[in-house]
């Protein structure tokens, strides 16, 4: 009996590997072509001094990387990215969870809420950028108008280096919170209905059900959401580029906008590639270490 089961196990393992290889083949091909090749290309380019278009480029070894390590602008951009990352996680995930919980408790009656709450994610960054530059305008914008009602003066949010980043983060949160809402809604549906029923029979209130039962079950989803938000905010580009272009000064400069400027407008493709490579290394390190940390905790 025992013998049979071990051999069965071996067969099963071998079978597992075969099936896994089959299932992972398409993704591997795709990754190699579209992602590994560009990454390798980026690292190669980063060893050249190159304007990006000329046929001849000069090999300079790790010179670009040394410059990168000492480049204040890059580290300022990285710091800005970190601020976006922390605030995004702190704002978007709880807010998304709250919205999802509300919808989950309310059921189908609340579809209108769901659809409207979701609209920001559907809008293109061009439209969002345009509307918010007007909404936040110092003179006549929404914030200044509200401040006027309370006897305050005009408030310059986007033009002030101290507030520009926070303002843009608010808009980013506005845009992406709906994603986490849908994400958690899907996670809620993964909780079997009988769990909820059993809790109700035991006399648990909705609040108790949420805190004691649903929330712990949602922890894995929250961890993934945090990773997603982390990676997303570290490589963020769109809205910043549309709304502030990194300004005023360097107050909203991000790694991605900096990389873009160096590569495509300053004719520093070699250095731009080093910035991209640096971004890639930093982001994957942060993401992988965080994953290790939060998953390690689970096992302990």
């Amino acid at each position: 009996m025992k013998e049979k089961s071990t051999s069965l196990l071996v067969i099963r393992q071998r079978n597992t590997r075969k099936v896994a290889a089959l299932f992972l083949a398409p993704v591997t091909i795709l990754m190699v072509i579209y992602i590994f090749y560009p990454i390798v290309d980026t690292f190669i380019t980063s060893t050249y001094q190159w304007n990006g278009i000329s046929a001849d480029r000069k090999f300079i070894g790790i010179q670009n990387w040394i410059t990168l390590l000492q480049d204040k602008s890059f580290w300022i951009a990285f710091k800005n990215n970190l601020i976006i990352m922390v605030l995004s996680i702190v704002i978007q995930i709880p807010l998304g969870l709250a919205l999802a919980t509300f919808l989950d408790f309310g059921g189908k009656k609340l579809t209108v809420f769901k659809v409207i709450w979701f609209i920001p994610l559907l809008m293109s960054s061009v439209a969002i950028g345009f509307l918010f530059t007007y909404a936040l305008a110092t003179n006549g914008g929404i914030v200044s108008t509200i401040s006027g009602w309370f006897g305050g003066g005009n408030i310059d949010l986007l033009g002030n280096p101290k507030t520009a980043l926070l303002t843009v983060i608010a808009v980013i949160c506005w845009q992406f919170t709906p994603f986490y809402m849908v994400y958690f809604m899907a996670a809620f549906t993964n909780i079997p209905y009988d769990v909820f029923e059993a809790a109700r029979i035991d006399g648990a209130t909705r609040g108790q059900y949420f805190w004691k039962i649903a929330l712990p079950l949602l922890v894995p989803s929250m961890k993934s959401a945090a990773i997603l938000s982390m990676v997303g905010s570290l490589k963020y580009f769109d809205l910043i580029y549309v709304m502030t272009g990194g300004g005023p000064g360097t107050s909203t400069e991000l790694m991605a906008t900096y990389m873009y400027k160096e590569s495509f407008s300053n004719f520093n493709m070699g250095y731009g590639s080093a910035v991209a490579g640096g971004m890639f290394i930093l982001i994957s390190m942060i993401a992988l270490i965080t994953m290790k940390l939060i998953n390690g905790k689970k096992e302990a």
Partner: protein, 448 residues
């Protein structure tokens, strides 16, 4: 349900295989592609000339289309030109991507200055001296336009679109109401500002989140304080961007910021979204310093409003020795550069000439443009455009916009620093030092 799933799976599998096969072929070919082909992004038809431009919206679109159609219908070269209009915002990026793969179009329209020099240096622009000297456009084009198309003593481009000089647009009704007149000196201008400010009107409509808009003020002030020599020396490496005239210009700007001559939150307003002209239209601002393309912007937005608008060049500074006739602007705005040789180049050049044919010029004039050709003032009827051309013709020198003229890295240093000057978060000295540093780095790299 299950059946449908299976069918879906089978279908996806088929598509996937096709796609991955195509892509595999791609990765093999892609790496060996060394950037040798100069055939442009054409479909292999060597009688086709691919022409990239930014004529996506009227009237630019109409002008380019008219020129290309004229060429295609009249040419005896056997070539046809395919125009590829592309959006302005990311046009430079698209050119870089194409050029880096050696797939530069046969001819393309771009701005003069730093980036254009970079394209030429990298081998994506052919000198056209012979063709040009034998062509009738040689005498037709304004001398300053040819100057902006010249690089390292060779002519590389055909300017065709617009003469754009920076100057000050103002609301005539408003000036009348407060008894103001066009200023002759900077002191007059500042008096106007003070009067407008007293009456609750923002003197200058400026949207400086776009950065280059603020540079208009800086360039004009610097040219009036010190002429163009300090700038030229700084670029050549024999002078410095920390020269007195630049510092004075920055200080004057900060003085005006402190006096409230610019709108609140000037660094957050966006030129692209129309927040500068909005202030003019709402008549909460009295003046706007920008390129003379604004005539077209105003008149297409509202002909009625345009009637209220007057224009004057940036006034002289009393006590300054600089020549007050110097203008800042572009003579051509769009320059056609060629990336082909032999017969093809001749044909492409012929198409560029078509941009300067009388009928296309008339079309340009009709839509508010000032094509950079001699005697254009006789064709113009709009009073402001005539003033602009006169100012350009009388100018002893015309300096191209800094942000176009300078190498892009220096230009960005200039724009970023100046924006902080407007925001009072940097002193003019600091901003100019960072610009100078970028220039030195660029010159050092070039010298290598």
């Amino acid at each position: 349900m299950k059946k449908r799933m299976k069918r879906l799976a089978a279908f996806s599998m088929a598509v996937l295989m096709a796609a991955s096969m195509a892509a595999c072929g791609g990765s093999g070919g892609g790496s060996s592609d060394g950037g040798s082909s100069s055939g442009g992004s054409s479909s292999g038809d060597d009688k086709e000339i691919v022409y990239w431009n930014i004529g996506t919206e009227s009237p630019d679109k109409d002008i380019v289309t008219a020129a290309v159609e004229k060429f295609n219908s009249e040419t005896e070269s056997g070539y046809t030109v395919t125009s590829v209009p592309t959006q302005n915002d990311s046009y430079k990026e698209k050119l870089v991507v194409a050029m880096s793969s050696g797939e530069c179009p046969d001819m393309y329209s771009c701005w003069s200055g730093g980036p254009m020099y970079e394209y030429i240096d990298s081998g994506f622009g052919q000198p056209i001296d012979d063709l040009f000297n034998n062509s009738e456009i040689k005498d037709k084009l304004m001398e300053s336009a040819i100057g902006q198309a010249t690089y390292n003593d060779h002519i590389y481009a055909v300017p065709y679109q617009n003469v754009s000089m920076s100057g000050i647009f103002y609301n005539k009704e408003m000036f009348e109401k407060y008894g103001l007149e066009e200023p002759a000196t900077l002191a007059d201008l500042e008096n106007i500002c003070a009067t407008l400010k007293e009456n609750g009107i923002t003197p200058f409509a400026l949207a400086n989140s776009s950065k280059w808009t603020g540079s208009m003020y800086f360039m004009n002030l610097a040219a009036r304080y010190g002429g163009l020599e300090p700038f030229q020396n700084a670029v050549a490496g024999t002078g410095s961007f920390t020269d007195e005239c630049f510092i004075q210009a920055g200080e004057k700007i900060q003085e005006w910021v402190n006096a409230g001559y610019f709108p609140d939150g000037v660094n957050s307003l966006s030129e692209d979204d129309g927040q500068a002209k909005q202030l003019m239209y709402q008549e909460t601002a009295g003046m706007l310093l920008c390129g003379s393309w604004y005539t077209g912007t105003f008149s297409t937005d509202s002909e009625e409003f345009y009637q209220k608008i007057g224009w004057f060049p940036f006034p002289a500074i009393e006590g300054s020795e600089a020549d007050p006739s110097i203008m800042i602007g572009t003579v051509g705005d769009q320059f056609i550069v060629f990336n082909c040789e032999g017969e093809k180049l001749e044909a492409a050049f012929e198409c560029a000439e078509a941009h300067l044919s009388d009928e296309v010029i008339d079309l340009g004039v009709e839509s508010g443009k000032i094509p950079p050709v001699n005697g254009i003032e006789e064709k113009l009827t709009d009073p402001i455009t005539i003033e602009v051309v006169e100012a350009a013709n009388n100018a002893s020198e015309i300096q191209l916009w800094y942000d176009q003229y300078l190498p892009p890295a220096v230009s960005n240093a200039h724009l970023d620093g100046l924006q902080e000057v407007f925001g009072l978060t940097m002193t003019p000295q600091e901003a100019q030092e960072s610009m100078q540093q970028a220039m030195e780095e660029y010159n050092a790299q070039k010298a290598e």
